[in-house]
């Protein structure tokens, strides 16, 4: 108990800050990967063969690459070797790299989630859209995607949950986040490592479980009645 209270005195403020970094990473990467995922899904269902191939190629390559490698390629290769920098501030630069790596990786899963939503849209909807003269993009925007996104809420939510947990991999890009802080705390006080682990584990449960509940609620609220 002694060491737990001294631990709280030392790190009490750092823990929420570290989790705040994970939440910011998760929020920004969710936005980025969703936008890219919608574009990729449009590519994959478009009438243009080259765009379909591009979308499928991106998804298959990225989905099969470990996130850790994408993170390291960003920081060690693109930043370290190609000297591409987004900010002169090191912390911000690595943060941006982490957001980009998370977005690029999860966009592949967002795309597949949206595509599974497209599969829930009955064929008649696309045919009806064409018969009133809508081209591919207007039909996608007004008819297909609104229903597809509502049908894809559950897999999209699962992707957001996985993304939130994967923000810990930003440690590979030297972003100071929760898993890094946990490592440091356990190194300095290994006698209470179980308590430290449970603190961080429950912290993630508190972030992840509400997202899951929200997903279930939203998928029922916005379910397309058929």
């Amino acid at each position: 108990m002694q060491s737990i209270s001294s631990l709280l005195a030392d790190y009490g403020a750092d823990i929420p800050l570290a989790f705040w970094t994970n939440i910011r990473l998760a929020f920004l990467a969710t936005l980025g990967s969703f936008v890219l995922g919608v574009v990729l899904a449009l590519f994959r269902i478009s009438p243009v063969p080259s765009l379909r191939a591009l979308g499928a190629g991106y998804v298959n390559v990225v989905r099969n690459t470990p996130l850790t490698i994408i993170m390291l390629l960003g920081v060690l290769a693109v930043w370290g070797q190609l000297k591409i920098s987004f900010s002169s501030d090191f912390t911000l630069n690595f943060f941006i790299y982490a957001v980009i790596a998370l977005s690029l990786y999860h966009a592949a899963f967002m795309c597949e989630a949206i595509r599974s939503g497209v599969n829930t849209v009955p064929l008649g909807q696309a045919e009806a859209a064409r018969s009133i003269g809508l081209g591919f993009l207007p039909a996608a925007r007004h008819v297909i995607l609104p229903q597809a996104l509502r049908g894809a809420i559950t897999p999209l939510g699962n992707t957001v949950i996985a993304l939130t947990k994967n923000t810990t991999v930003a440690a590979a890009a030297s972003v100071a986040e929760a898993s890094g802080l946990m490592k440091r705390m356990i190194e300095f006080s290994p006698d209470v490592m179980v308590a430290i682990f449970l603190t961080f584990a429950i912290g993630f449960c508190l972030i992840v479980i509400p997202i899951g509940l929200l997903t279930t609620w939203a998928s029922e609220k916005w379910a397309v009645a058929r």
């Binding site: 490698i69 994408i70 070797q81 993630f204």
Partner: protein, 295 residues
């Protein structure tokens, strides 16, 4: 490509064909522009030099770096596959147990390990095994290896437990009723009728879970486990070709995972007649599919 996607648009007429040709050309041009920009930047920083690429793919690189790394990666992933299937079967059974408290306890365990990031578990086990090593029970250098396997087992085992449960749930009610009708107890019905069919139905999802295990084994890099990524980085630091060696390591992962995904798709087509459950392809995630393959 799903069957429905091709019906989202009509067979193109002359005007649409011209538009498609134009779109093809524009996207080709866009890809070329990006490629040229990347190549220019690579050239400016000397990344195109033949020496750097050769050193990343020659015999020495494979013999001394990629193959030893790949061996540890495959070994840890292989053991984690076996142990997480065992964990998943046990907890899948417990989650379907007729006794309430057993079910709830199993549910708490499974949900907990599914919610905690794998890396957080790995870091914890790494430190735990470092403590254990101090007592002499295991070699200190083996700690990261065991930590990777333990974390992968707990996370993926929990995911597989959910697969087992949802696989049994997806079976038609008649299966359970028929088992009851011939006088089986509910445990016998689970063991002899429902879980075997659920296993066949979940095999494709199980294979795509192996992709997740293989990918997540690369997280071991962050706790100092000597796997493929670690060796690739060592090779890169030694020869000044970190970009090239990481690209090769990524390609090794992509090829292996691509083969696994391909096998999963083939398997799901062949198995759909062998079970009353739903062995649909894992490559197009169903709505409500329990796997989050991004994990």
């Amino acid at each position: 490509m799903s069957a429905q996607a091709s019906v989202l648009f009509d067979a193109p007429g002359p005007i649409a064909r011209r538009r498609i040709l134009l779109a093809n050309l524009v996207s080709l041009a866009a890809v070329l522009v990006v490629a040229v920009l990347v190549l220019i930047q690579m050239n400016a920083t000397g990344q195109l030099s033949g020496r750097r690429w050769l050193a990343a793919v020659d015999g020495d690189a494979w013999r001394n770096y990629y193959l030893p790394g790949l061996q540890f990666t495959l070994q840890s992933a292989g053991i984690a596959v076996v142990s997480s299937v065992v964990f998943g079967l046990v907890f899948g059974f417990l989650r379907l147990a007729p006794v309430g408290p057993v079910r709830w306890l199993a549910a708490v365990v499974v949900e907990f390990f599914r919610a905690v990031p794998v890396l957080v578990m790995m870091v914890f086990f790494y430190q735990l095994f470092a403590q254990v090593a101090r007592s002499g029970a295991i070699q200190p250098q083996d700690g990261p290896y065991y930590a990777v396997i333990a974390a992968l087992t707990l996370y993926n085992g929990s995911v597989i437990a959910e697969l087992v449960r949802s696989g049994v749930r997806s079976l038609p009610r008649g299966q359970r009723e028929a088992a009851a009708a011939v006088g089986m107890t509910s445990t016998q019905s689970l063991r002899l009728v429902e879980v075997p069919q659920a296993l066949i139905a979940m095999l494709p999802s199980l294979l795509s879970q192996f992709v997740v295990i293989l990918k997540d084994s690369a997280l071991g890099y962050l706790i100092g486990f000597f796997e493929l990524l670690h060796y690739a980085r060592q090779l890169g630091s030694g020869n000044g070709n970190i970009l090239q060696s990481l690209v090769v390591a990524a390609m090794i992962f992509i090829v292996i995972n691509f083969l696994l995904t391909w096998a999963a798709t083939r398997l799901s087509r062949r198995l759909s007649s062998r079970t009353a459950g739903d062995a649909s392809a894992p490559t197009t995630p169903r709505v409500g599919a329990p796997t989050d393959t991004a994990g």
